[in-house]
Symmetry: C2
């Protein structure tokens, strides 16, 4: 005997995955490569984008900005003459602490996907929940600021483990911090063995080229190993 | 005619408030003052506690540590010979990004409330959701690191608005940052008019005494204006 009842519970729980797959289909049809960019609040995502986006000229870029409130970051990106769509996650009380696939989907009509090669989704600043929601991205990158302390990969393992690239930012501050870079890299490798990282400073411009090259390589499939 | 049906929906949504009130009752019976301490990841909550707790000798302190994973922070507090109870919010996938009243309640049996005057609850590092959940605290304090940028009060208003004290940390780094302190304080006052703030550096010790005095004043009711 078999049980004729089909349980839909899993399907309901996986609504985010279903919508992420729909986003993925739209991105594929338009030939758009999508990066989900995450970090703590104030780690430097927007500043990094301001510095890197003007230097990946061969790729046509769009940005989807996620913020609890304000258009501050979206305005900074728009000033670069880059198409940008803003999702404010604050419908009332405290706001959602992450983007999910449905929020991303709601913003897609405001971007002309057929006119861009690379979509960067700048997630809400948070080291926990953004990592739990796939939105249809090809790759995940995170920005880690050296001001946050060496132990963060151990305390927030999912975020560090789920990213394809860890951008170690604000290295210009290293001489002024009690931060052990080797210990951080050991902790990172412990949580996500072999994960790619790069040392950058959005302030001095150090390492920005490497991030730009990575974005171009991913966009044009020169390093294609998508995790769909 | 009146509707005899009593809706329980509000009660269900307010389960957190119900449990917070139960916590509050326990704290009152034991004569414990409770601080909910919040911040972004890596803003310096634990380092600040390491520096301030040894200097509030007249108050007997306990700490409830909230972290997604690891006992790293709890071990640092325990090394001060301060009673500490740890809540790891990671039951599996990515972990909860905040403490709620029930998580706090689950940890209370591991603290002898009758033996402490002040309970500091160190919340999960996150600028969004921790502010949405009362846990039975008397006061809320947040640590803001100057490395995070001047616009954070505008982007995460609930967190800044809901706190009774904003501790502006890492001021030793100001000479090395492109950070406009006056602009930050304007933004803070804009979001939470008149909120108390203090400038500190857990690295150099600057301002630590002020935080210690605040903790003692709150503990012994010299500045009692509880928000229950």
């Amino acid at each position: 005997m078999h049980d004729p009842v089909v349980s839909v519970q899993e399907g309901v729980l996986d609504a985010n995955e279903t919508i992420a797959a729909a986003n993925r289909g739209d991105f594929d049809r338009a030939g758009v490569t999508v990066i989900n960019l995450m970090s703590s609040p104030g780690a430097g995502k927007t500043t990094l984008l301001e510095h890197v986006l003007p230097h990946i000229g061969e790729a046509r870029v769009g940005v989807l900005e996620g913020d609890v409130r304000t258009a501050l970051d979206a305005d900074r990106i728009a000033a670069l003459h880059v198409p940008v769509a803003l999702v404010n996650t604050d419908p009332g009380f405290g706001g959602e602490c992450h983007l999910d696939a449905n929020m991303v989907r709601s913003a897609l009509p405001r971007l002309r996907l057929e006119d861009i090669d690379l979509l960067v989704i700048e997630n809400v600043g948070n080291l926990v929940c953004p990592a739990e929601f796939r939105v249809g991205e090809d790759r995940r990158a995170m920005v880690f600021s050296v001001t946050e302390g060496e132990e963060k990969p151990l305390k927030y393992p999912l975020m560090f483990r789920t990213c394809d690239l860890v951008i170690v930012n604000k290295i210009d501050l290293l001489p002024h911090l009690d931060f052990d870079l080797d210990l951080f890299l050991d902790n990172l490798d412990n949580v996500s063995p072999g994960v790619q990282h790069m040392l950058v400073s959005a302030q001095t411009g150090a390492g920005i080229d490497s991030f730009g090259d990575w974005l171009k390589d991913v966009t044009f499939g020169r390093d294609r190993k998508f995790q769909r």
